[in-house]
Symmetry: C2
Subunit: 256 residues, 2 copies
């Protein structure tokens, strides 16, 4: 299905560079103009893109991708179950709350509630965060099987800021500490001005299915706040795990 793959490439390129025309796309994707043209017409017929208002020769996305992505991400009903709990968490913390799901070697933001405070952290839905340099990622990692962690450590850990953990042993120690205290903390390890406190949502033993976090500008993240947020976040995460049918706790009961 080469044509389908090509057409999807065109779609993604349009999404990230809209509004854009045939020629530029062909150059960027190193594809023949005719092929790109056909792909565009097809995508338009399918309702995923449309000519930009005014100019007919450049294309923009419709909201189709949003509608498809919207009721699509994560396990069924995760978001519905999560939103009320996230509301509650925002009331308690008054900070921006993120819901992420693990995917491949990253976690992806699928829902957020913003803090009412003026200094905010804003990230687009669908944004991916590294496992080793985000509170959500580390919370997920700490609750995954050791083979997942080993797999991550095969390659070098990318550094993003001064505080990013890149040493494998240090990461293992950090994960142990997270398991110990029940929540993960990030001190500007990915973006130097962004801190966060996260806890994993479990779907079974060693099976994290999501993660909840409170995201705080580093300027507001004191030691006491950290502890308080940690408790709030881990309570919210267990309560979400429970609502999704997994009774969290030190010993997971296997069925029957």
């Amino acid at each position: 299905m080469r044509n389908v793959l090509n057409t999807l490439r065109v779609l993604e390129e349009v999404a990230s560079r809209q509004p854009i025309g045939v020629g530029e796309l062909a150059r960027l994707l190193e594809m023949p103009k005719s092929s790109v043209q056909r792909a565009l017409v097809t995508l338009s017929a399918a309702g995923w893109i449309r000519p930009n208002s005014g100019e007919i020769t450049r294309w923009v996305m419709t909201t189709k991708a949003l509608a498809v992505g919207g009721h699509a991400s994560g396990d069924l009903g995760l978001r519905d179950a999560a939103v009320p709990i996230m509301e509650d968490l925002r009331r308690r913390t008054e900070e921006t709350i993120h819901l992420t799901v693990p995917e491949d070697d990253k976690v992806v933001l699928i829902e957020r509630l913003e803090t009412p405070k003026p200094v905010r952290i804003s990230m687009a839905l669908g944004h991916a965060l590294p496992l080793h340099a985000s509170a959500n990622g580390k919370a997920v990692l700490a609750n995954s099987g050791s083979e997942i962690v080993s797999l991550l450590l095969v390659n070098e850990l990318p550094r993003y800021t001064d505080t990013t953990i890149t040493d494998p042993d240090q990461l293992l120690a950090e994960l142990a500490a997270i398991r110990e205290r029940g929540f993960a903390v990030n001190h500007g390890e990915w973006r130097s001005d962004v801190g966060s406190v996260a806890a994993a949502v479990m779907g079974g033993p060693e099976k994290p299915i999501a993660s909840l976090s409170a995201n705080i500008p580093m300027s507001r993240l004191t030691e006491e706040a950290e502890a308080a947020y940690g408790i709030a976040v881990s309570e919210a995460a267990s309560s979400l795990s429970a609502r999704l049918g997994y009774a969290s706790g030190p010993a997971a009961r296997t069925g029957c």
Copy 2:
């Protein structure tokens, strides 16, 4: 490009019914099983879907669609410009704020900020609302050219609740009233328990590019509240129009 269209149909179907297997999809889409199978493998190779964790034979969406739809909807930068204004609007109203864009014969929700209050109205991003039965839709319609309105009136207006406006003359009168007072109101015309107050964001004369609304449970929507929200919403909408480069006002100045 029949195969592309088919593959996209498969993708949409997976999105709305995940997790789902080959056979069921083939039946729903009335396509040969082999074709569906190939489409699924292709989509998986492109990273849009993946086998559901645990069972290999049923498929779920990845977050690709979300990422693509995320930085894709609406005119470039609309969302970035809108979010701070929406924040402000939420502070003033303490109600759920919606940002929608017109698309074909509907308006589509592309961003929202939730009220801190317990009784909320929740709608998925990407959700479409009718033009004649939502505050956002009516706000857009009232600021569009009359040919757009006529086009809508060619077909009968669907009724959703007791208060839905289905009479063309009544709708025209309503639109005139909206232009007069500067904002649109919806009294449970689409969902009987949901009210809202909206104002259009303009990109040029008779060229609405978006709409902002405060969404309020009917139980909370008093007359005084309505007037206050109306002012807040229309101020926010003009300020967003201005930020996007269109100086709103009674007389639009044409370039140069």
